[in-house]
Amino acid sequence: MSSVILTVKNLKIMHQNFNFRGHPSFLLKDINFTLPKNRSISIVGESGSGKTTLMKTLLGIHSIKSGRVLFYDTDIGKINSKEKKNYRRSIQPVFQNYRQSFNPLITLRKSLLIGFNQKMSPSGKVKFLHENLNLVELPIDIIHKYPHQVSGGELQRLAFVRALTTQPQILVLDEPFSSLDIINEQKLLEIILNIQKTYQLSIIFITHKLPLVQYFNDQVHKITNNQFSRWSKYEQ
């Protein structure tokens, strides 16, 4: 049994829009799961069921209103800013809308260099970038371009490289295959599995495409009718 990295207990997530009556309205209740090291879990749900909001809550972008999220043994809702920084660095997202996740006004190189540890030497950073660009099968000189000069697929793979620059332990993938054709889907899948193997990462895979769940099926959860529940039918 490998050690558990992330534990989510009775987490509730709220609607992000205003409720004028002042009552909190919950989008999802009773979210419970544990994520062991080097394992992957899938979360399947319809569009608008709160998958991305759940992701942003796990990433610490939205605050936790009710329930607990434990990273190893520390409660994410009750940590100071330094610990929060460390937590944020160890859980990295790849957003569904990858084109908007890059600043359009700076080069990709600058975007990629933001996340590195400041103590790392410049040559170390460049070496790391080169290795990871090889890993995602991209040419090295692509980083000197601006986001609008590269294709969507390339940007998506660069988003993976950016996520790796903080040396995370968990990767949260928000519908990475939603805009790819079957050939590119297969290619990206291989890249993701390769990344997981190389860096021993845990993966939270959020999707609405059921066939892809088989690759990330250590645990499968589904979201139906505002209920978060385990779906063991699709597990290994």
Binding site: N86, I91, F102, A159
Partner: protein
């Protein structure tokens, strides 16, 4: 940054405004020195002289050279309005960024603070702060800036809020980097163009406010001259000195228009960059 500079140069309005402004600046800062004519030198035997080689735009009621006086006045006006708008943009930047980045309550307080400033009757404050004391440049610039930082602050705050909602900001946030680095790498490149557009528009309105105040006698005092004092002086002799009124008006128009054009062009560039997002 390189991308923005290229875009600015490619924009026709920005380029023409830039060329006009550079010409004005060169004229105002170099020519009076080269021509070696003192703008305050009086020649009472030569009043209301018409256009000649010696006096390119004629002379005024005390026989002073209109051309050199115009250039010196434009230089003075530009110096005052540029530094006042720089100062006001600086205050606006600090307040706009703090307010945009802070939580709802602090943001609310900052914005109500700026609303209070917006609600001040400007001319009343100008008269209060400038009318009863000896003129000093620093005070003049300070008063101009302190009453005009609100619009830039609101523009910058809105821009920061927009960036805060964007995915690339959230992605940077997830990487746990220091707020100063977020400002430096994410916010600054994205607000720099809007700040410069605000700066250009602010300067153009500053030129007008400065001239207006100097015209009323609240701003620059003789023997120093600015476009406003020149206009006030020419007003006394509307028939003999009508050309000076037209010339001053023309200089003011060109300067204000150039800054407006620059601001407009910069706005275009920003919209283009937004569209690319």
């Amino acid at each position: 940054m390189k991308l923005i500079c290229n875009e600015i140069w490619r924009n026709k309005r920005c380029r023409s405004a830039g060329l006009i402004l550079i010409t004005i600046l060169l004229f105002c800062f170099i020519l009076p020195g080269v021509m070696k004519i003192d703008p305050t030198h009086q020649d009472l035997s030569n009043t209301f002289d018409s256009v000649s080689f010696r006096h390119l735009l004629g002379t005024d009621n005390l026989g002073r050279d209109n051309f050199v006086r115009l250039l010196t006045a434009t230089r003075q006006s530009l110096l005052i309005s540029l530094s006042a708008s720089l100062f006001s943009i600086f205050i606006g930047l600090i307040i706009g960024v703090t307010s945009g980045l802070s939580n709802t309550k602090t943001d609310f307080l900052w914005m109500r603070f700026s609303d209070i400033f917006l609600a001040f009757p400007k001319f009343f404050v100008f008269i209060l702060m400038l009318g009863f004391t000896n003129f000093s440049f620093l005070r003049f610039i300070f008063v101009l800036a302190i009453l005009s930082w609100m619009e830039p602050a609101k523009i910058i705050r809105t821009e920061i809020k927009t960036i805060k909602g964007s995915l690339y900001y959230q992605a940077a946030l997830c990487q746990g980097i220091h707020p100063f680095r977020i400002f430096h790498t994410i916010l600054l490149p994205n607000i720099i163009s809007i700040v410069s557009a605000a700066f250009a528009l602010q300067t153009s309105s500053m030129v007008i406010i400065e001239s207006g105040l100097s015209f009323l006698g609240l701003g620059v005092q003789a023997p120093q001259i600015s476009l406003g004092t020149l206009l006030n002086q020419a007003r006394t002799y509307p028939i003999n000195n009508y050309s000076l009124i037209l010339q001053t008006g023309f200089f003011m128009l060109i300067t204000v228009m150039a800054f407006h054009l620059l601001g407009d062009g910069l706005k275009d560039v920003i919209n283009k960059a937004r569209f690319q997002k």
